[in-house]
């Protein structure tokens, strides 16, 4: 029995030595065929050409840049030209996606290593919840057929995770799916992977340090450097990252005073999305800090200036990577803000989800002062691989489900 090799390993195969390779016939050549596996292609000289699309196993030896069948050729499946169509799974996965999926696995491991060695507990909280989060601009996906009243897929696991903080654990993290109805684009998928973590006896400051170190550790592990390829251009992620306050960004980058924009929330986000975000984190990662209080429903207000909240976002190459804050732990204040969000949702004609009384009860019970952060895992992978579209880092994006 000749052990099986991957196509990519054949470049190192010494002359005369035999190799066993299995893969798909992707092209008929003048003197043989092209065989492909998940690592690459090789041309094989042979007098018989199996049907296009068939999987075969061959035992062959080196012949110049290719192979020559010397012993056996087994045809393992029927041929089909279905794979030659642009919408085939083969076509969708073979190009950039397969290498990106390998790096996805490596990034997951790097993230887990980072938090495990920091002493955080990895948790898995439910995806189906009775109160999906009242963020004014997020819509949840309803789950039908549940037995105990209405349920939704969460838009973020924060209520459930914060309840675990009542234990006073030093920290928890979760790498899981979050679901947001109607979000689809270059940086958005309705089902995406979120990395969310919390540290007790901590705050936004610590979350920013975690973010810098995590991204730097992942960059080192996956690219061997502290400069990520980015989506449009390289981004230096060497800590510490620069910081810019929201009011300063409005004035310096957009040329408008925040107080002139502020009562109009839609205009705030329009300027942020159109004129500020595209300029942030170009060449170097940056934190946008000190959000106006109304834009931070779950964050603690700054003790120095209550018009602002201890909320931040990180931007790399114009892409919002994460959103974190010093958690609001005052149950009464939290209830007031959630009620306000409910009213706001009603005004905008959006579904009004119930208050999560168990979450509010946990705050009542008491959790230590904490910091929390939610980071778009797929976006980090895009910045690491240089993928231009979130679909390129997913096995089966929603468009192909």
């Amino acid at each position: 029995m000749v052990p099986r090799s991957a196509v990519r390993e054949l470049a190192q195969l010494p002359e005369q030595q035999r190799a066993c390779v299995a893969g798909r016939i992707v092209a008929a050549d003048p003197d043989g065929f092209t065989l492909q596996d998940d690592t690459g292609c090789v041309s094989v000289q042979h007098s018989i050409i199996p049907p296009l699309g068939a999987f075969v196993r061959i035992v062959a030896s080196r012949a110049g840049a290719g192979l020559s069948v010397i012993e056996s050729l087994e045809v393992l499946s029927a041929g089909s030209e279905r794979f030659t169509q642009a919408d085939s799974d083969w076509a969708a996965l073979t190009g950039v996606r397969l290498p990106n999926l390998r790096r996805r696995q490596a990034l997951k491991r790097a993230v887990q290593t980072f938090f495990d060695s920091a002493g955080l507990l990895e948790v898995d909280t439910p995806a189906i919840v009775p109160c999906p989060g009242l963020d004014v601009h997020l819509d949840a996906i309803e789950v039908l057929g549940t037995l105990r009243g209405p349920r939704w897929l969460h838009t973020s696991p924060e209520y459930q995770m914060k309840r675990l903080l009542t234990t006073g654990l030093p920290g928890i993290y979760q790498l899981g799916k979050a679901f947001r109805r109607g979000e689809r684009g270059r940086l958005h998928e309705p089902e995406f992977t979120m990395l969310e973590w919390y540290r007790t006896f901590s705050d936004a400051e610590q979350m920013m340090r975690d973010t810098e170190r995590l991204v730097a550790a992942a960059a080192r592990e996956l690219t061997g450097s502290l400069t990520l390829p980015g989506v449009e251009g390289p981004v230096d992620v060497t800590p510490p990252w620069d910081r810019i306050r929201v009011d300063q960004a409005f004035e310096d980058i957009a040329g408008v005073k925040l107080e002139h924009v502020l009562p109009d929330e839609e205009r705030f986000y329009e300027i942020l999305a159109d004129r500020i975000e595209p300029k942030l984190g170009r060449g170097r990662a940056v934190f946008l800090t000190d959000y106006p209080a109304p834009m931070a429903s779950l964050a603690r207000l700054s003790p120095h200036d209550p018009r602002f909240a201890e909320r931040f976002e990180a931007y790399l190459d114009g892409i919002e990577l994460c959103n974190g804050f010093s958690e609001l732990i005052d149950a009464t204040e939290q209830r007031t803000r959630l009620l306000r969000d409910q009213t706001e949702r009603e005004k905008l004609g959006r579904s009004v989800y119930p208050l999560d009384e168990r979450f509010l009860a946990a705050l009542q019970e008491g959790i230590p002062p904490s910091g929390g952060n939610a980071l778009g895992f797929d976006r980090l992978l895009m910045l690491i691989t240089g993928a231009k579209h979130i679909e390129d880092v997913l096995a089966l994006p929603v468009s192909r489900v």
């Binding site: 992707v26 492909q36 840049a65 190009g95 958005h188 839609e266 159109d274």
Partner: protein
């Protein structure tokens, strides 16, 4: 009226009385903020491309264009000549007016010519066109880096990424919405 969720590539809309074709759409949403649709729009009179961002509650006016089925006859200098198959009337469109659609025209192609106030301003090609491969490297050249696609030039000059198994002279089905390879048309 269109909603912003209707915006997709090649949609024709009217802004301040001028018809535009959508050439690029991007969903933009700051994490906790409201969603926007950022677009690139091509002015159908001048061919100039502008950027425009729409709020999610904005309504867009459809461009009231009239479509007439015509046949592409031939290229003449910088212009493209079309003929109304019923009246035999002929008209000329420039490369700028056709934009990327000029890459899908071979003699005899039936297209919808778009008229705005009786003036021809562009065409809608069929969703799929069949074009011959003029030039592409032969199949596979011995490196094992694994790329499944290679560049090819079609008979109209269109550049397309095609799978390794495609050879010169073969006919491919091209998706005119994306400008991409769709499938190989079996030689009859």
């Amino acid at each position: 009226m269109y909603d912003t969720s209707d915006i997709k590539k090649n949609l024709k809309i009217k802004l301040d009385g001028v018809p535009f074709t959508v050439v690029e759409v991007q969903f933009v949403k700051p994490g906790k903020g409201n969603a926007f649709t950022r677009t690139k729009l091509r002015n159908m009179f001048t061919g100039a491309v502008i950027e425009r961002t729409f709020r999610s509650n904005e309504k867009l006016e459809p461009a009231d264009l009239e479509e007439r089925q015509m046949q592409f006859l031939y290229k003449e200098g910088d212009g493209f000549v079309f003929m109304d198959t019923a009246s035999y009337d002929q008209l000329n469109l420039s490369a700028e007016q056709l934009g990327d659609n000029r890459w899908y025209l071979i003699d005899g192609t039936n297209v919808d010519v778009l008229f705005y106030n009786e003036k021809p301003i562009g065409v809608t090609p069929p969703t799929f066109v069949e074009l011959k491969v003029l030039r592409t490297e032969p199949g596979f050249k011995g490196d094992t880096s694994g790329g499944a696609m290679k560049p090819a030039t079609m008979e109209t000059g269109l550049e397309v990424a095609v799978p390794l198994f495609i050879n010169e002279g073969e006919t491919l089905k091209i998706d005119t919405r994306t400008g991409g390879y769709s499938e190989r048309v079996n030689k009859r």
